[in-house]
């Protein structure tokens, strides 16, 4: 049963990523891969919150596994971020690609840390 929940959460997460990426492409253009940045940073923030809640025993570990592992793991993506970084390098050069990679990565780390701290720091 729990694997069914992981599968369903993974399906929802992937679809949410797909729809947000498409909408971001239409509204913000394709100069930068805004959709992937948006899902990765927001997903990291949410994963920080969920992990903090499980750590503080405010959320059952089994539910945290479905939300963080199933939904948020599928909602965020590393493979697309890497391919997009290489595509950016072809369009805009190595400096822009490295800046994009570091900005996305550090923003996701900061978001996860913020989410964690918001729960564990307050609890």
């Amino acid at each position: 049963m729990s694997w069914l929940a992981i599968a369903a959460a993974g399906a929802l997460g992937a679809v949410a990523r797909f729809l947000i990426s498409q909408t971001a492409m239409q509204r913000l253009g394709t100069r930068l891969p805004w959709g992937t940045v948006l899902v990765n940073v927001s997903g990291a923030l949410a994963a920080g919150v969920v992990t903090g809640l499980v750590t503080e025993a405010l959320l059952p570990a089994a539910l945290g596994r479905v939300v963080a592992g199933g939904f948020l793991g599928a909602y965020t993506t590393f493979s697309t971020a890497m391919v997009e970084t290489l595509q950016l390098r072809e369009r805009a050069g190595s400096a822009a690609a490295i800046a994009h990679l570091l900005a996305e990565s550090l923003a996701a780390l900061a978001a996860a840390g913020l989410g964690w701290w918001l729960v564990v720091g307050v609890a």
Partner: protein, 144 residues
């Protein structure tokens, strides 16, 4: 309002379910000890980056892009098999237990390894589709 057709959403959903179950199953087959390098997430992300680069390069070089495979396997399975959120939380946990050097190393190996894996995947993808090499003016792999 939503630009995606239902068939596209269904393909991404099915692939996303498969990718998520595979990722979580691998992670739970080898649980992470506190202060340890998250090897499973690292390997999942590098493998997924490599495979996605192969797939998109091969599909991008065909005259008609196969959106079914791209959405099911690319956006769905491989997008969902790899993760940024778990990686970021693992970094936070490493920093939380004071393993700063390990966290820095994990971040560096993930990013550098991810780029190298994707570049290797693109390279392999090009080799798998040599017949299209001269047919395109904008060759993504060629010199400017």
């Amino acid at each position: 309002m939503l630009p995606a057709r239902p068939r596209h959403v269904a393909l991404v959903a099915v692939g996303g379910a498969v990718g998520a179950v595979a990722r979580v199953a691998l992670a739970e087959a080898r649980p992470l000890s506190p202060g340890e390098l998250p090897v499973v997430t690292l390997l999942e992300n590098l493998t997924g980056a490599f495979l996605l680069a192969v797939l998109l390069t091969v599909l991008g070089r065909r005259s008609v892009a196969d959106s079914t495979v791209r959405l099911l396997v690319g956006t769905g399975v491989l997008g969902s098999f790899t993760t940024y959120s778990t990686h970021s939380v693992e970094l936070v946990v490493l920093l939380e237990v004071g393993a700063r050097w390990l966290a820095g190393g994990y971040l560096a190996v993930t990013l550098v390894g991810g780029l190298l894996a994707a570049a290797a995947g693109m390279s392999l993808g090009r080799r798998l589709t040599p017949q299209a090499a001269g047919a395109r003016s904008a060759d993504p792999g060629g010199d400017p």
